[in-house]
């Protein structure tokens, strides 16, 4: 079995392998689905996480994306890039969640998560001091807030452009708008982010032991 999986993974370097894998899934090959899952799981969960900023929800939504892909495998046609299709489903689910879950319960949970689920980033060669960690957490919170305050489509566009390194055409396909509209979305989003975040790098390096001078909040 693993040899077969490795063969499939080995073939994964060709450009439209995802579509080929999905066609195999359509024909009943579960191993190909496992390959697709392993290949795209992290990027999908991370994308959804940055959209909704809630780790358990992001994993649940990402599972829903894969579940939908699996359930609709019988009618799959490779008309678009597999990742375009996948991110389109993910974006829809994330936007729906953001619109539906703006209630007191989710707000309270977000506040809790902000304090508790920040990743314990380590400096490679030495342990960060408490002060350095506070600076890092403050900056990270600033980034999360800046992203969260962007309009939903701008947020999705920035996350796909920055973290998924997608082309404008693919972002346009995911968001179902023109390339020109995507460029305008990105221009406005980065303009907002520049005004909110530009001081962070200029002010002080990441975890340098120099205190919190770079953080304005």
């Amino acid at each position: 079995m693993w040899q077969r999986v490795n063969n499939v993974v080995g073939a994964a370097t060709s450009p439209d392998l995802d579509a080929q894998l999905m066609l195999r899934v359509r024909d009943g090959d579960e191993e190909s689905f496992r390959v697709l899952l392993d290949k795209h799981r992290n990027s999908l969960v991370h994308f959804v996480y940055r959209m909704v900023q809630d780790q358990p929800v992001s994993e649940e939504l990402a599972q829903e994306v894969f579940l939908r892909i699996y359930k609709t495998r019988a009618s799959y046609e490779p008309t678009a890039k597999f990742t375009t299709w996948m991110f389109r489903i993910a974006t829809h689910l994330a936007l729906n969640w953001l619109r539906d879950e703006k209630n007191a319960r989710s707000e309270a949970r977000l506040d809790e998560d902000r304090g508790g689920d920040l990743p314990a980033r380590e400096v490679p060669d030495r342990k960060p001091t408490v002060e350095q960690r506070m600076v890092y957490n403050a900056r990270l919170q600033e980034i999360r807030d800046a992203i969260a305050q962007l309009p939903e489509k701008q947020r999705a566009a920035v996350l796909m452009h920055k973290y998924e390194e997608m082309e404008y055409s693919q972002i346009a396909a995911v968001l179902e708008c023109s390339e020109s509209a995507v460029k305008s979305l990105l221009f406005r989003a980065y303009e907002t982010l520049r005004s909110r975040l530009a001081h962070m790098v200029t002010g002080a390096p990441m975890i340098s032991g120099s205190g919190v001078s770079g953080a304005k909040r």
Binding site: R34, L37, D38, R41, N42, V45, H46, Y49, R50, Q55, E59, L61, A62, Q63, E64, F66, L67, Y70, K71, L93, N96, W97, R99, D100, D117, P119, R121, Y136, R139, L140, I143, R144, I147, H161, K162, Y163, E165, Y168, E179, S180, K183, S184, L186, F187, R188, Y190, L193, R194, L197, A198, M200, V201, T202, M206
Partner: protein, 170 residues
């Protein structure tokens, strides 16, 4: 080279440059342009800083049980009853299109009921199957009675008149 900041949809050159995704030829052109364009140079500097700031945001690792949980959902989904499938479909906002659909069904149903109201049990005062109300029948009968009375009255009047001149039995 025209200034990329002249229009929103040409700023991708600067975004791509800051992201390190611009090809060598266009990189050289842009760098030449930025030597004389203060706005583009400032844009590049700020965008590079934002790019670096965003790099700081590393997401948490995906939990170990992700795949297991997903396969469990797939198995549950495959063996779920129609009720369970409906409940699942209503999660994550999949129910939203139901509202306009339900509204459309309601309007059609209301129209159907209105349209077929006349073919059901006739309302009081309506003669079964004729579509004529009892009031209309009464009115017609009364009118006919009135006409008959008038005829008799005319005949009597005529008899009186002719009796004066020529006797005609009624």
């Amino acid at each position: 080279m025209n200034c990329p900041l002249l229009a929103e949809d040409t700023t991708d050159v600067l975004l791509d440059y800051s992201a390190g995704r611009l090809d060598a030829k266009r990189t050289a052109m842009l760098e030449t342009h930025m030597l004389s364009c203060v706005r583009c140079a400032a844009f590049r500097a700020e965008q590079t800083e934002v790019w670096a700031a965003l790099e700081l945001w590393e997401p948490e690792p995906v939990s170990m049980g992700f795949n297991r949980s997903l396969w469990q959902k797939i198995e549950e989904s495959a063996s779920a009853s129609w009720y369970r499938k409906l409940v699942d479909a209503l999660r994550f906002g999949a129910w939203k299109p139901v509202f306009p659909l339900a509204a459309a069904v309601f309007v059609v149903a209301a129209g159907f009921v209105f349209d077929h109201q006349g073919t059901g049990t006739p309302a009081p005062g309506i003669l079964n199957g004729s579509g004529v109300s009892m009031n209309e029948v009464d009115q017609v009968e009364k009118t006919l009675d009135d006409l008959q009375l008038l005829r008799q009255f005319d005949a009597v009047s005529a008899g009186v008149t002719s009796g004066q001149t020529d006797s005609v039995p009624m």
